[in-house]
């Protein structure tokens, strides 16, 4: 396991029926680490994550996860393999309550006791899940909904967690809790693959960083490699720390 990559993308080409959005993506996701993908808007980050969870089928290439080729598998089969994704767009069932939404996250788990126990710990970490348990999910504010979506993915204990901009719309305090939870999940052995526009903070806590640009990997390395690359900083991280104008 140590040498074989946990997830390997090889020549992945994918799109939505018109032109290709991903144009041959190659990189590895190491087992047990946090890998962060950054890049400009529309570069194909979400598309790449969707190919992992089976929501977009690559036209060419392979994606290997623990020896299985994910290409051609249905989202459900991939979920059963232990891959859970939190999508970028708001994906809660708006007419269902917060609690029902969170419970739905555990539909693969049969053991009632396990579900109850996980629900309890989620309520502790994210009080909103308890406070607004019986409100319709659609009535929550944007940031609150984001948090519930994240909470939902904790109901399964997946091997690979795929997060599409988990911090979007979160206030600074909640963002801290969110990143803390991601770190904790990782330290409990879960591999994390995430996309973030809050790139500085995200790269800081990531072991690996990948820069996706126009459907191709521009740079892959450690989180600090990406953070300290001056070109990348200027292009996609809002300028390097030292060159940013002082207030």
């Amino acid at each position: 396991m140590a040498d074989a990559p946990f997830v390997r993308f090889e020549g992945v080409v994918a799109g939505y029926g018109g032109g290709d959005v991903l144009k041959g993506v190659n990189f590895d996701v190491a087992h047990g680490g946090v890998t962060c993908i950054v890049g400009p808007n529309g570069s194909g980050k979400s598309t790449l994550l969707k190919t992992v969870s089976g929501l977009v089928q690559p036209r060419l290439g392979t994606i290997t996860f623990k020896g299985h080729n994910l290409v051609g598998m249905s989202p459900r089969e991939i979920l059963r393999l232990g891959v859970v994704q939190v999508p970028q767009n708001h994906s809660l069932f708006k007419e269902m309550t917060v609690e029902q939404n969170v419970e739905l996250g555990a539909f693969l788990v049969k053991d009632k006791k396990v579900i109850a126990q996980r629900l309890r710990s989620i309520r502790e970490t994210f009080p909103i899940v308890a406070e607004r348990a019986h409100d319709k999910a659609g009535s929550l504010s944007g940031g609150q909904q984001r948090l519930v979506e994240f909470a939902r993915c904790l109901m399964l204990e997946p091997e690979l967690v795929v997060l599409d901009e988990p911090s979007m719309g979160l206030d600074p305090k909640t963002l801290h809790v969110m990143f803390g939870t991601i770190k904790m999940m990782n330290s409990l052995g879960r591999t994390v693959l995430l996309v973030e526009q809050n790139a500085r903070q995200a790269l800081k806590m990531s072991h690996h960083g990948v820069v996706l640009e126009n459907g191709l990997v521009r740079l892959a390395g450690t989180g600090t490699d990406v953070l300290n690359n001056p070109d990348i900083a200027a292009l996609y991280l809002g300028g390097s720390v030292s060159t940013r104008p002082a207030h």
Partner: protein, 259 residues
Amino acid sequence: MTTLLEAHDVSRSFGGLQALAGCSLLVERGSITGLIGPNGSGKTTLFNVITGYIKADTGRVSFEGKDITNARPNAVFALGIGRTFQMTRIFARISVVENMLVATQREESWLRGLTRSKSSKSELDNAMEWLDFVGLARLAHLPAGALSYGQRKLLELAYVLVADPDVILLDEPAGGVNLTLINEIGEKIRSLNAAGKTFLIVEHNMEFVMNLCDTVTVMHQGCNLVTGRPDEVRSNPLVLDAYLGGGDDEDVAEEMSNG
């Protein structure tokens, strides 16, 4: 400076939940005002009340001294108040550039729309210029439903700017947008502001808010907690406690010192 937009003691509840509990806000003419606060503190709800998307239970909203409480969204827009939505609301099945054109008719009578084409040359050029600014010019003829999340946010921003209102309310314009582009948007806001536009901005990116705004109002649980200059606000213990998180938070502290 004079007050341009004012919300006075606005309350609104949803069932048992008090989303706004006597919230007041002043926006001075020609300012860039920040509105920050924890998730669920009522920022978007206040935007909705100001722009007529929901009704206030009590309280008053006025614009240029005129009472506009509970005016309809089109009336508010006609006065020159434009807004974006946090959860983007683009027109998904028409093209990106057509989205822009929907917004460019503030002063036009509806009858005129029957006899004219979708856009004049100058409107189209103007729309394309804005699209180019947010990096969407290449995608102008795609249906807007094909945009990525961040691109939708940018389109939403662009079509409010193309409508050219006097006051622009932005609900988390930077959420999901690439950092370098956020800086460019910040620059654009500053230059529009210099040209006379007034901005009210909700945003969680503290660097963006603190660099850009003249005044910041912090909301908490439906009330306004603190109002002041950015540097006053960011060191206010109430704000640290309710919003930014205590001083033990090194990431945030670092973000702040960078700002």
